[in-house]
Every structure is written in structure tokens, then in C-alpha cells.
Amino acid sequence: MNAHIPLLIPLTFLFMALLVPLAGMLNRHLAHLVALAGAVIAFYFSLVGLSIVMDQGPIHYHLAGWQPPLGIEFVLDPLSGFLEVIITGTALFVLIYSRRSVEIEMPDKTIPFYSLTMLMLTGLTGMVITGDLFNLYVFLEISALAGYALIAIGDKRAPFSAFRYLTLGTVGAAFYLLGVAFLFMITGTLNMADISKVIPLVKDTLPAATGLALIILGAGLKMALFPMHAWLPDAYTNASSAATSLIAPIGTKVAAYIMIRVLIIYDFPPVIEVLSWIAAVGIIAGSILAIAQTNLKRMLAYSSVANIGYIALGITLANPLAFIGAMLHILNHALMKAVLFLAAGGVSNKMGTLDITKLRGLPKQMPFTTAAVLIAVFSMVGIPPTGGFFSKVYLIFGAIESETWFFVGVILLSTLLNFVYFFRVIDISFFKPYGTKNGPSEKAFE
């Protein structure tokens, strides 16, 4: 069975996506259990897969027995195994949480919600595991289409934000496909391992460079890298809390994974220095925009823009320390953002508001949620014992290693800015007087 693990992870989700509506027809509550079972099984597979990969090296799986240049190949190497565990693990936690929240927010749409969730996870896990550029595009569109539908289930404005996400996301995927076309024209193959063998010979030709630029543009649109982040805040704010907490931690990370893969294929060309600057601008701009928000979910969404900047910066600095920092930050940010968005969902369901200025008395109302938020906020800011500290330290070491002192300053400055916008939440919820006059609104969730 171990040899089949690369295939089994996306296949579990695909199978469950079909099983959820069938189980839902029997009993509505079964839908959640089936989805949860899918996440547990896939999480188990990815853990086993990662442990095998760490012991014995990458697992190559040839679909239908066709050898790589002709057939599609699934590769589970340390990088994809690591991301696979993050994706399935986050999905598992979110699905455990989602039962109550889905019941409250969309009582008549539980079955489509879980089915779409499973489809999106099929796409995300497939994107990470595939070794074929066109297959990656197919999985990218599977996850994106399910994601658009998931985001459209939300409040009244959700379809409009989902539409904006759809147009930009589709153009991102079109850019990616155009880039793959250039790569295919110059190398004559779609297998990543094959391309990375051929690319040193054609590195300086125009099609290879154009292909790289287009793929990075497409991946940048999908991962909401700073100037291309316009779709993200609206989409995250207006979607239901379960959908946001599923898409926010892992959706953009997987797009970052495309960028990593392509840069590995190209062996980190020096052109990517430009990307480091874009990422640095994104870190600062995202943090400043987050300070300006009053809606908790919107603030977290802008903070996602800033954090994608960290990851992109770590990747594009192209030295081992910064790369470790980026990988660690993918893990840390997935966990922190999942915690914060899940807590935001709980807050909005219990307090009836997401307005930061109305969060007085949060610790009294929801002590455990506040404790979790506090730990996640410490990690976001980067206070020593928490995970966020270590990824930022690695990023700073990486920037020092490549002697780009400006980026060291950017990371330190953004840490201060992170502190500003998260401290506002803590300040209002802990230290502002909490009386009946300014107490939480009795209004139930709209």
C-alpha cells in the first residue's frame, strides 16, 4: 500500500466528495461525519507518506503504469509531503470545528458545503503531489472552482466577492497555462523532473524566460502577492467562517508552492530579486492596510497579504536559511491563521459582531477562545516561545546571510506593525471597561 500513498491522498478526498451527497441523502448529519472521516484518513496517509519519505526518499507513482515523460507522475518528496501534512491537518481541525458553525450559518447548505470542501481539498492535495505541469493546472482549477463556490456561500455580498475572485483567479490560471505553453514549446515535455534536466540548456532563450515570468505572474495572482491581492480581503470577509478558515490558511500557501516548484526547476535565476522587493513592499503594505481595518476578519485577511509577503521573501532570497524560514512560516502561518479565523467565526456567532471596537469583555464571554487567540497573536507578532518567532528569526538570518540589510529592516518593522494591529484587539477586549451599557449585543447571528 505504501507505494500508492501519493495517489491515495487526493483520491480519498475525491471519493468522499462523491460519498458526501449520498450519505447526506440518508441523513443530513452523516455528511459532516463522512467529510471528517475523509480528512482523518487523508491525514493518516500523509503522515505515513511523510515518515516514509523522510526514511527512504521520494515515492514516485506512475499513473496507470505509464513511465514519466509520457504518463503523469505523482511525486511525494520531503517538500510535498510536508505541505500535504499541513493541508490535511488544517482541513481536519477545521472540519472538527465546522459542524456547529455550518449548522448555524447555512443550515440548508450543509451537504453542498462538505462536498465542495472535499473537492477543494482534492485539488489542493493534488496540486502539491503532482509531478506534471499540466496536471497541476487541472488540480489548480479543481481547487479554485470549488473555492469560488465555497466563498459564494456566505452573507449577501459573498457572491460578488466570489465573482471578483473568480475573474482574477481564472486570469491567474490562464497566465499559468500560457507560461506552461512556452515551457512546453522550448523543452517538449511537461514532467517537472524532465524540464529541470532540459532547462539549463535553454535557460537564456526568450521562451524559457517568458514562461517563467508568466507562471510566476499566475502563481502571484493565485497567492495574492501584494499588488495582485485585490480579491482576497473581500472574499475572506464575506465568506462563511468555516469556508474562510479552510481557504485562508492553505489556499494561498499552495499557490506559493507552485512558485517554489517553478523556481526550483529554474534553479533560482537572479531575476527573482525583483520578487523579493515586491514581497517586501507587500509585507509593509499589508500590515499598514491591516491597521486601518475595523472588521476582525478583514484585518486578518490583510494580515494574510503581509504574511504571504514573508513567504515569498523567504523563497526569493534563495539561500537555505531563508528557505527554511519560508517553509516554517508556511506551517506556522497556516496554524495561526486557522486559529484566528476559527476564533473569529466563534466570536461572530456568539457576540453577533466582528467589529473590533465592540469586542469589549471578550475574555469574560469566551475565555477559552480568547486564550487561543492570545497564543496565536503572540505567534503572529513573533514573541519568543511561539512558532512565529522562529520562522521570523530564520527569515532575518536568511536576509543577513544574503546581506540584504533592507529586508532585515522590513521584517523588523513589520513585526512592530503586526504588534500595533493585534494589540488593538487585545487592548479593547481586555482593558476597556466592560459594563452592561457597552456589553455584547444580544442580537443573534444574522
Binding site: 472552482l145 463556490a149 455580498r157 481564472t170 505553453a181
Partner: protein, 122 residues
């Protein structure tokens, strides 16, 4: 110059098409027109793959006794065509989802004009 145009006219046409698509998507205010622009971009990419697979004097990839199997240059590479079948399916599904979203938007706000929508979603 004339040779470049003669050799690459399909690509110039595709560049034009891509720009028209981008224009429709970014400048037009009506959501329906944005969807049309998006579709044009997707079609451009599909056509780009097909054009890139074209070879002067080659035939379709079906065994022909008159052509034989001695010279692979006499057959077109079939891979881009098969890949684009998948891409066409993806494009159709995207179109379907976007139209469904447009229906939902119209039901919620009664308009598809972006400036009005921006006002009403405030």
C-alpha cells in the same frame, strides 16, 4: 519585417485577442462583459497551444500508409490538442460557475453594473 508578419501572423492575432480580453475584463463596468473578456482570455490561451503545435506540411496523428512512420516530422504533435480538450472543459465549467454567481448577484442586488454594486455592497 514582412517575413515576420507572414511567419507569425497567428501569434500577432493572439496577442491582439489577449489584449481585447484583458480590456474587457478590466475596463468594462458590466459583470457580463467581464465574463466575456475572461472567456476571450481563456480561448486565447487554448488557441495559443493549438497554434504552437502546428507544423507546415504535417498531418494529423493517425497512421497513414502514404506517409509512413519513417519521419515523425510529417505528423503533428497530438499532445497539445489533447491537453486543450481538458482546458476547454475547465473553461466551460468556469463559465458555468461565473454565470451562476452572476445570477446570485442579480438576485441579491438587482444590478450587474459594477459602480452600482460597489455602492450597494458598502
Amino acid at each position: 519585417m514582412l517575413e515576420i508578419i507572414q511567419g507569425y501572423y497567428a501569434y500577432f492575432f493572439l496577442i491582439l485577442l489577449f489584449i481585447i480580453g484583458l480590456y474587457g475584463m478590466m475596463i468594462k463596468r458590466n459583470l457580463m462583459k467581464k465574463v466575456i473578456g475572461m472567456s476571450i482570455i481563456q480561448s486565447t490561451v487554448i488557441l495559443f497551444w493549438i497554434v504552437s503545435a502546428f507544423k507546415e506540411g504535417a498531418t494529423v496523428t493517425i497512421y497513414d500508409s502514404a506517409v509512413g512512420v519513417g519521419n515523425p516530422d510529417l505528423y503533428i504533435n497530438p499532445l497539445p490538442h489533447t491537453l486543450m480538450l481538458t482546458a476547454i472543459v475547465v473553461a466551460v465549467v468556469t463559465l458555468g460557475v461565473s454565470l451562476a454567481l452572476i445570477i446570485a448577484i442579480y438576485r441579491n442586488f438587482g444590478t450587474l453594473e459594477e459602480p452600482l454594486l460597489m455602492e450597494r455592497t458598502k
